[in-house]
Structures are given as structure tokens and as C-alpha cells.
């Protein structure tokens, strides 16, 4: 079967914040209405709705069902939920469009990351078996990974600080970014360790956020957007969940996903990498062979605002917006999931 051309035609994101007093449904509803208003489509024309979130974050089983209230599900709709980042829900929606069952899909995600100890919550969600009863949080595991990389000479603390300084400076131009600062790597290196060898700037800032994206196929996409961001390749790969059986100094799943998505076929203008830790951005750049000509995370990335379960879809939104505006022609969007870059979804998009 020939692959259908599918594009992102609109995006909407909430400004990232800490300590939101809204319910998840109240958080989501305005971004869904926003993204629909941007393309001016009737709700009934949306053939598939797909949601990414994590019930552990609200501490309520089946809390994702409440999100259907934000959709306006009358008359009845076709919808699905992914217990994970919204970028994985986007992948499901892309597959749904490939089956020919619909032409237009709306994907959304939300994360009230600051309503609980996210480090512990994600560990309980993602790993009930492999490292019990130690319950190492994501920060601790990332610190082990960073330590392995430093010891192997793969990168230095100064390299990591460079990533953070660039991200914090780029975030100054992003109105919805949470953390932003005109800072240099030297200044950051003078700050204390939080989880050695990680400093505060090495770890993505947990925030509350929500976002939504509309995908459309072929002519539907052309009618909804002036310059759609066409998905040329998309691939999702997973490393073993046995942490001891993985190489800590490289990301093989990211490398395979990037190759399958066609990253190396041509230059990449902008890469929005979902790297919640500074050293992980370096590992990802290396795994995907991204060179000097690629601007990584002009939005500031997940380091400056990391709404868990929405930070990956945010990368897709940022990358697509750069195609809409014409500031880039060929872009990469990436999402990771699980500790130490366990899962990697890579997507290449192009303008026409």
C-alpha cells in the first residue's frame, strides 16, 4: 500500500507554568479550541482524536477518561488514549490516517508535572519490576548515565553546560518557555551539583503544560494550511528495559529511529530534540549525526520547560511552526520516554 502524505497543519500550546490550580481538563480545553480555531475546521470533520497523558501523574486511575470532556464529544467521536507522551499519540494518529479511516486527526497531551514528585511518579509508572526495591528516580538514573559518559570521555561537564546555556538563552525568545536566562556556560559551571554530576541546569524544569496538534492527509492538509509540515519519515525504537544491558554512552534506539526516518538523507535546518537532561541532547545529536548546520532546540527545548507527557509533542509543535513560518524547510522532531533515553521517536518534516 502506498503511504499517504500526512502533514501537521496547526499547533497550539499553553504557556508553561508551575503549580497550576486548573484541573487537567481545564488545562486541555483551551488549547484544543485554539488549534481548531486556527484552521477553522468543524469538529465533525475531525475523524480521530488521540490523547497522550499519564494517570500516575494525577494519581487517579482512568483519569484520562475525563479528558474526553474537553473534546466536546457530541455527536459521538472516534478517540483513543496513549499512556505516554502526546508524540506517541501523534504516531498512533499518523497510523490511523495511513489506514485510510480518516483524513484529519487531532492529537493533544497534557502534564500537570508539578502536582507531585514527578521523579518518583515516573519511576513507579514505568518500572515496577526491573530496579525494585531501589526505586531510582529519573534524575538519579540520568546522573548515572552522565557519569558513565564523563568517565568514558564521551563528553565533559563544560559540554553539558554549553547545552544548558544555549537553551536558556534561546528560551528568551520563546514566550511560552518557563525557565530563561541570559547566562554563559562558565556561570552555570560555578553553580552547585544537585544530583552529581548533574547541576540544576542539567535537568529539565518540571512544569505544567498542554498542547494540541492537527494532522491532515493530502489535499485536506493543503486546504487547511498555507505551508503544511509534511511528515517524510517517522520511526519509534526502544532499547531494552534492562538498564544494565544497555550502553550508557550512546543511544542505539535513537540512531536506528533516525536512520529509518531518513534524517541523514538531506540537511536538517532545525532539530527539536526531547532531551530532559543536557548530556542526553549530546548523545542524541551524536546518534542522529546532527552537525553544525542544524540549530538544535531553538525553542529552548525540554530543559527550560519539561511538561511530562507533553514535552515530546511540544517538540513536534515547535518544529512544525518553523516550517509554517518558512524559517526552516527540513526539520526533525524527537520524543523520548522512559529512563535514560529508553524510547526514541524520530520524525522528519518538510515544507513544500
Amino acid at each position: 500500500m502506498a503511504r499517504r502524505d500526512v502533514a501537521i497543519v496547526a499547533t497550539a500550546q499553553r504557556p508553561n507554568e508551575v503549580g497550576s490550580t486548573l484541573t487537567s481538563v481545564e488545562l486541555i480545553l483551551p488549547v484544543i479550541n485554539d488549534v481548531i480555531a486556527k484552521v477553522g475546521i468543524e469538529r465533525q470533520k475531525i475523524g480521530f482524536w488521540c490523547h497522550g497523558s499519564c494517570d500516575y501523574m494525577s494519581g487517579q486511575p482512568f483519569s484520562f477518561v475525563a479528558a474526553v470532556d474537553a473534546i466536546g464529544a457530541w455527536p459521538p467521536i472516534v478517540e483513543s488514549h496513549v499512556e505516554g507522551d502526546g508524540a506517541l499519540a501523534l504516531y498512533e494518529a499518523w497510523v490511523k490516517i495511513q489506514t485510510g479511516e480518516c483524513d484529519v486527526a487531532l492529537v493533544f497531551s497534557n502534564g500537570k508535572t508539578t502536582s507531585g514528585p514527578i521523579d518518583r511518579i515516573l519511576n513507579l509508572q514505568a518500572d515496577p519490576y526491573m530496579v525494585t526495591p531501589l526505586w531510582p528516580g529519573f534524575d538519579s538514573l540520568a546522573a548515572l548515565q552522565a557519569r558513565a559518559c564523563l568517565d568514558a570521555g564521551v563528553l565533559s561537564e563544560a559540554d553539558m553546560a554549553e547545552v544548558a546555556a544555549r537553551s536558556y538563552r534561546d528560551a528568551l525568545n520563546n514566550p511560552i518557555a518557563y525557565a530563561k536566562e541570559n547566562v554563559t556556560a562558565e556561570q552555570l559551571l560555578a553553580r552547585p551539583y544537585t544530583t552529581a554530576p548533574l547541576r540544576a541546569h542539567d535537568c529539565g524544569v518540571p512544569v505544567d503544560g498542554a498542547n494540541a496538534i492537527i494532522l491532515a492527509a493530502g489535499d485536506a492538509a493543503r486546504s487547511l494550511a498555507e505551508r503544511p509540515a509534511w511528515i517524510r519519515g517517522i520511526d519509534h525504537r526502544i532499547d531494552t528495559q534492562r538498564l544494565g544491558a544497555r550502553s550508557m554512552t550512546e543511544s542505539s534506539s535513537a540512531a536506528i529511529a533516525a536512520a529509518k526516518a531518513g534524517v541523514g538523507d538531506d540537511r536538517i535546518d532545525i532539530a527539536e530534540l526531547h532531551a530532559p537532561y543536557t548530556h542526553q541532547e549530546i548523545l542524541l545529536r551524536r546518534a542522529m549525526n546532527l552537525g553544525e548546520g542544524t540549530h538544535v532546540n531553538p525553542s529552548g527545548g525540554a530543559l527550560v520547560s519539561n511538561p511530562a507527557m507533553a514535552a515530546g509533542l511540544a517538540r513536534f509543535a515547535e518544529a512544525a511552526e518553523s516550517v509554517f513560518s518558512g524559517s526552516a524547510d527540513r526539520v526533525l522532531a524527537h520524543c523520548t520516554s522512559g529512563p535514560m533515553l529508553q524510547q526514541n521517536l524520530v520524525c522528519v518534516m518538510e515544507g513544500e
Binding site: T23, V25, E26, S58, G59, D69, G72, K112, T114
Partner: protein
């Protein structure tokens, strides 16, 4: 340590504490309960009054709910279930009735207990009123209402044929 098989067993209690937020729309509802007032919310789109105000949005219109609306306290039973089966943790004497009650002025029903009458006498259309617990036991919860009881008013016509209930 089990002496029989030499397998070590650990008890590892774990817990997570959340700062759960009711959201601005449910907050007026919960504050109302602290005060003994039943506060719902009206959808600015379809005008339906939600009690309780769910997650603060109208699921039909996908709009944030609007004005507070005081509803009840009396209401009408729209459907019910007689509970005869004992289960773990049961607090109420069998048989008892769990009913959906449409409070006066509200457009969606809520579930509560019916007491102070025989289970066999409960019917669709029956008018009921809340019986509040002692004020010292109140919190931001519908459990401030111990149960509902019949008011003795004539039944409301719920469009159900005779005998159907």
C-alpha cells in the same frame, strides 16, 4: 526470611503525595458544600446546569462552565437500585437504595442514598430532600448529606409509563 526455602522477602511500603487541585470551577461547588449550599454551574453554550460541575467544562459544548447556580435542595429520583448484596466495607444496613437524584434546577442527576422509607416504596419520580449530617462533621464533600428522604410531595411525572419502574 522464610526458613523453608531460604528466600528473602522484603516489605517495601511506598507512597506518593499529590497536591490535588479541584480547579476554579469545582471550587465554588466545594465551598458551597462547606456552607450547606448546593452550587452547580451553567454552561454558557447550551445553558445546561451541571451539579456537580464535573471537571469544570461542558462535555457537550467543550466550553468552560460559567455562572454559579444554586440548585435543590429538593430533587426527584430519576432511577434507583435496591442493594441486597453484602460486600466488604459495607456501612449501611441492607437492603438500601442508591438513587440518581435530579436536584431542582439542575440538568444532570447525582447519586446518593435514600433512607427513612422502605426500599420497596422507592420509585422513579419520587420527591426527596437532603438530610444533612451534624455541621461539626462537614467538609468539602457531598458526604455532608447523610442521605435523602421522601418529602411526601406528589410524584413528578418523569415520562415513565405506569409499572415501568
Amino acid at each position: 526470611m522464610s526458613e523453608a526455602d531460604g528466600i528473602m522477602r522484603l516489605r517495601q511500603p511506598i507512597s506518593v503525595t499529590y497536591n490535588w487541585s479541584a480547579g476554579p470551577n469545582a471550587t465554588s461547588h466545594l465551598n458551597g458544600l462547606l456552607d450547606g449550599t448546593l452550587v452547580g454551574k451553567r454552561c454558557p453554550g447550551c445553558s445546561l446546569v451541571y451539579f456537580p460541575p464535573r471537571n469544570g467544562v461542558c462535555p457537550k459544548c467543550a466550553r468552560i462552565l460559567g455562572d454559579d447556580v444554586v440548585v435543590g435542595p429538593r430533587g426527584t429520583i430519576t432511577t434507583f437500585c435496591v442493594v441486597n448484596v453484602p460486600f466488604l466495607g459495607q456501612k449501611i444496613k441492607l437492603p438500601y437504595v442508591a438513587a440518581q437524584i435530579l436536584l431542582d434546577g439542575a440538568d444532570i442527576s447525582m447519586q446518593h442514598l435514600i433512607q427513612e422509607c422502605e426500599a420497596a416504596d422507592v420509585r422513579i419520580g419520587m420527591r426527596v430532600e437532603p438530610v444533612w449530617k451534624d455541621r461539626s462533621e462537614w467538609g468539602p464533600s457531598l458526604e455532608n448529606i447523610a442521605h435523602f428522604r421522601p418529602t411526601g410531595e406528589p410524584d413528578r411525572d418523569m415520562g415513565v409509563e405506569a409499572g415501568a419502574s
